[in-house]
Symmetry: D3
Subunit: 323 residues, 6 copies
């Protein structure tokens, strides 16, 4: 395949050529892209947030970025169904990991917000590998600094609990309650898809409903086509800025076993791909793939799903940059 890499436009960063350097060779940057230190001039930044200090049960998502990078070596250059060639359309790079403090939640929140503030300042759209779901809060603090954003949220949990273990307000079960309270999310422009699992109390969804979230429970999901649900979601979030948050436990745990709070009966990766592809054209300000927990993974199955979802999200965002 002598004509592969060289034909790409020179200025954009390109992945290593798998026809010359085998996929198992070299450093596992995201998508085998160059790692750069500054977001300046980068359109889409692939970023890790290796933090799981908000996890109340089975942690391990701190190892998610490293293993999603590892698995992402299997991603190639072009998104077939859409025809998007992301590296032709956008300057994309691995921007490394956000600083975190593994033994201090509040310090970590500050560090993460600071890191993403730099991306926002540079005009770089982040596609983030978590980390547990608490990381979405400090990311939103950076990205929604100018005003609330909408959100399409794939998950089996609403993550709008209030407190745990006494008076703890910052856990991976509370980010979106905090984000609403802090004015980071416009609750009328929030859609949650795939919610399921047993509840702590019958009132678990009271906050989300009162705030105005649209919750698509898995039972509703099972009755409709993914595309239909996404059409509704697109109508709800509209043209304004929107954040995409993908918790891999939205997917069935047979496909994403490496996660801290698995709930059986989820959607498939194929359905997830169909939904993500329907995000094309939205005004996406950032995206994350969270709750990949390698110590609980088997055969790196979940890391591969996470890396593929990052690729899909990256292609959607790059496709928006088509001229």
């Amino acid at each position: 395949m002598p004509d592969s890499v060289q034909t790409h436009a020179a200025p954009n960063p390109q992945p290593q050529d798998a026809f010359r350097i085998p996929r198992f060779a070299g450093l596992p940057t995201f998508m085998r892209l160059p790692m750069v230190e500054s977001p300046v001039g980068i359109d889409i930044g692939l970023v890790g947030v290796p933090f799981d200090g908000g996890t109340t049960n089975r942690a391990g998502a701190r190892h998610g970025p490293r293993e999603m990078r590892n698995a992402s070596s299997l991603m190639r250059r072009v998104h077939h169904p859409s025809g998007v060639a992301p590296y032709d359309l956008a300057r994309i790079a691995d921007l490394g990991d956000s600083p975190v403090n593994p033994i201090d939640v509040l310090d970590s929140l500050r560090l993460i917000t600071g890191f993403f503030g730099t991306l926002k300042a540079a005009g770089t759209i982040p596609v983030t590998a978590g980390g547990d779901h608490l990381i979405s809060l400090p990311i939103l603090r950076a990205l929604a600094a100018d005003g609330p954003v909408g959100m399409i949220h794939f998950d089996s949990h609403s993550d709008t609990n209030d407190r745990y273990f006494g008076d703890n307000r910052y856990t991976h079960g509370t980010p979106f309650r905090r984000a609403v309270e802090e004015g980071l999310l416009d609750p009328k422009r929030v859609v949650q898809i795939g919610i399921r699992g047993s509840l702590g109390t019958a009132n678990d969804f009271d906050f989300a409903r009162a705030a105005g979230f649209r919750i698509v429970f898995i039972e509703e999901f099972a009755e409709r086509r993914p595309e239909e649900i996404m059409d509704e979601a697109r109508a709800i979030v509209g043209d304004g800025p929107v954040y995409i948050s993908f918790d891999v436990d939205g997917i069935d745990p047979s496909q994403t076993p490496g996660t801290g709070t698995p709930e059986i009966g989820g959607y498939t990766t194929a359905e997830a791909q169909r939904m993500v592809r329907k995000l094309a054209g939205l005004n996406i300000v950032g995206a994350d793939v969270v709750e990949v927990s390698p110590p609980f993974d088997i055969g790196n199955m979940t890391s591969l799903v996470g890396a593929t979802l990052m690729f899909e999200l990256m292609c959607v965002i790059a496709g928006n940059m088509k001229r």
Copy 2:
């Protein structure tokens, strides 16, 4: 979450509060409920039968109760789709494990029947974690002591073989032939769902068919909605007493790999949940989840499915107790 546990009615046993005691802490009783020694006064008893002496190939289901208890720590308090709050509606407890004899099949059958006889005498409905499928026979001997019951049976195998290895009548492939012969099952009120896999002989289903079982092969299942199939099953079992037996190998082995006799091409856990939920209102005298074999499991995936099915069955039965 100051309003969670304390608001429950005092007399009913309650799980430990996960907002105060993390899910990984404490002893893994079923659903983190209290373990009690006597079934007296208990409406629904969660029970283990750690026996796999009827297994003709890959054993290990003896370890099922322990690992399903372990996985059940992830279950919370309320069944979302139905709104059933089981611990508000019924007195539910972990009743421990039935005595068994790991090296003597016939002694085990006696011990198990004795244990379940006590539950029946106390009016306690058992939801049992197996064990291999042979355990359904001694359970039925206790529960159907007064007369035959119907059965809805989820499985990839009919389990109506006659003999193995010479003249052995009691294996995990024979319980329901024995149960019919012994007058424990009313064969006209038996439905088997998900049957598939290669056959030993072309006559494998002769006994079941002659007896009057309704067998829904996986090929028929694939053509119909789970709810439709369950409507038919409900009509067949009617208002009389019915036993529910769920062999996890009915589900696809990618979702329940930890089982002794996997057959590819099964239904999904989501379909299983939809079917179990359609059991609401039936006159259920007991239920089991069998053939979870932890030594063959990966990432405790199958134990989680088993524990969740126990939760689902428990909620159906508790829902029947609504006043």
Copy 3:
């Protein structure tokens, strides 16, 4: 089950009787059939090709035949949906493994072609356990020695690349371009089903399309019933000789994790079974199940899928032999 094995017609080879010899006992030949040295007199030969020297990333398929044999002990004697009792209809045996050279690709190609030439000479139809996908090329060189054949090809990749790593023409990504170039495949009678995954370049399918392959991408697959797709495939390959090649990465990696190039979003094993069953009546000259890589497998899940697909293919071919 005293009447099981003995009632079969004497001359045909029969699997060991699982009612007398447990499935975990004895040597793991394919389907617990006798292993014979010569194909003469054998209608269907189950064969291993333990070669993965064409693998450009994650190898291990050389161990596929051994582990598929191991898993095939779970197969019984009769195909339930079709009623085919293969060992009554055909003389079927394990013919052992083709010779290979693990450190020399070209020598392996020669050795494999030689081995399958002997089968062809004997009139034996091979059902092969790979090995990586490159092995289909030397098999076709033997089976299509008299003229091009059609092919129904289940896979996530088209495997029609040209060269890798300089000028290497023989890898598991190139067999079907070579087969067309060498006149082994009639490209107008080739159907590929399940193709997906990111592409190396936007032109990845140019060769296949120009040659006339019918490619059913996974997105199209998701919109149609498997039976519909197979009806079209049957029309395309017609009555002429056809080869069946099943790369297990066509299936979703949650069901076939043990493979070198997993792509999320695949079809299910149940859909695979439905498709394979629609091959009945075609003029099948041979079939393979490839890219089972045990070192990457978990819980032997993929080996079981591979062994079951071999059983399904064998039953289809035996069913054609019904008089």
Copy 4:
């Protein structure tokens, strides 16, 4: 074995009889002993501290108590080399888990100290299953409330670092510096055995040495018999109260792979047993086994080592109670 359990003195709690109830049955309390809620009247309390919030790299020790309980089902009743029958000599029970707060380090330290204060008040000697090594600090705050204690410390790390990640004083790398600073340990009566691994700086041991710890590096260990080293350790700690802390990473990671900071080249479990047995007769106020991290374990190997070490420590302490 009809004479087994019943011959034991009635008042002492006894493990379940494995000749009647198989080891895989029932709840996995420590050593299959009764779980009791209050330490009053209990001589030796087996306790879990499911906390790993001090872990700076690979966490998971929060799951240690549950899996060590699980593995401890393999322990029987009598310590052969010493002849100690612990349940004849002492009242021993599973006292459950200390409360912890998985997302708040300082709150956890308070909760743990409170829990162990109750044991101390009751005169119960704890044998604790961690948790990461930070838990030894709050335990010492309770047990050394009356004055500093000595310590024999098995580990590959000295755990006397000062701060991490800015100004964080409480991690699993700092407990024994804090314990010295707080007057909980008498540094002249502290022995550390098995220290090894690469260092952060050449000054890593300055604090410990200046304070007066006796450090037995693994290189010295390799040159001497374990018994010799323990004779010296016994002389150093003398007759005063002494705490035993066993970090399983002191042992070679081929025997304790399930730990967060493995260092190759450690001592064997047999050597560990020989050392623990030499603790007999010391004035032991408590003991812990820490850093068992089940998500990183393989085949529960490390949990079994941890459970066995707890049994060995319990027998040493019970042996001291011989009249």
Copy 5:
């Protein structure tokens, strides 16, 4: 390596040549030797006994023969330290598996004794892959039919318990009490090496000691060279017929994790090899390697140890046949 296989004397069975047929190819017979149906004319028979019905806790040893066969493909042709070329010295073959009945202990005992009786009648010395340790009893019933034999027994347990679970006399904890009672073993010529682990009661060894067994506990083992211990063992068993029984749980569980009753602190595989090699010249009537339990194994580590011990034992016995 053109001069390898062909130079061997024609009449003796030979393993497949790994310089021509890779080790991963072909059927996994023991040592890649031919499988033959009759022991007649075979000097040393490699045999499987896939039975674990005597296991009181963690079963799985029924799968031992298959996986030890699989692992034995790594064995080559010549024993380096002794220079023994077994296939030059003796006719050795894989004789397949003994018949067993997985759900009937007593029937299995009968079947196994029958099978080994045939070997004894043919003058074939068996080297057996278990199976749990109960299988040594029916083997001894065949091999010691003419009178009691001595035994060198490597194990962590004495296996001389009396009864379990009521009145059950036949479990993997009782074979050698039964063998003494039945006059199969001469208790004055029995040596047990490596015994350790916690005891059920202080009287656990009373039977063995009263009978006259020489027990080498692991504590004594640790103080002496393996060769010294074996010199004593050789003196004890003398020139009379002796059976060798190797329970892999004698070895440390970090080297043989795949076993049902692991006890930490065992000897190493290197020490095991040194001991086995000291058996040269004894009048060995048979040998077994038992308690390899593949479902609990990790990375086939234990199967490899088991297969290597079989090779070592086979070489010792073949070495005795040197002229």
Copy 6:
């Protein structure tokens, strides 16, 4: 920890500071050092050679460099027993992976020699992560271009076979016969330590012995102290240039299970460390750690051993640079 990294001499590359950036964060370069593209100015180059095309049985070592890099994040900055602070003494960096061709052995040999030729030209001493053992040959072709070197070789195999599979001269069993034939090794200055395992023929060591290699079989190793053996080895290799080759299968497979050709009964990692440390002061021209095969590894145990051995070798070489 403001005083940690910054105090190091500015010009030398330094690992990331683990007191600020957690070990699980960031890209897994070797030892968390900077990756640089050119060897110019680098004293010691850490390099990967992801090639296993010479493996005749169980491959996977191609994935070794990636996973050894991953595991090397656990290495800190100072070698405690020697006091060597390598990054103070030498300019050390990750130089990335050598180019390889996964499907062409001869092309790979050329590419590897070319890559290491560049290092030699720059005066950079390579410490290499393999790859299978064949890679030592092309490395020696570069490093011994000026004349033969000595070698200290840790392994369970002599790797001096001649041919495999017909006439194949280049496999992981043949590199050191080729190296002698090509004049790259001075056979009188070669020491092999740990050799063991069954042999293909009684003549397996004829070449090595005739050439003059000193072979320390494991039986001899067991009788002597590692330091003694190394004193002899040092005398043999003398002051001339010497290459160090460490095949992790020299170590016992319970400590390095992730390797292609495990042989039980090896030395321990502690013994390996003691031997490597005795290399100090030798005129080392390069070193490799080979045959780490991640697909066969469990819990990354072998990768950690491999990474630690690289650290040890690097420290020895850096220690030689002390002024």
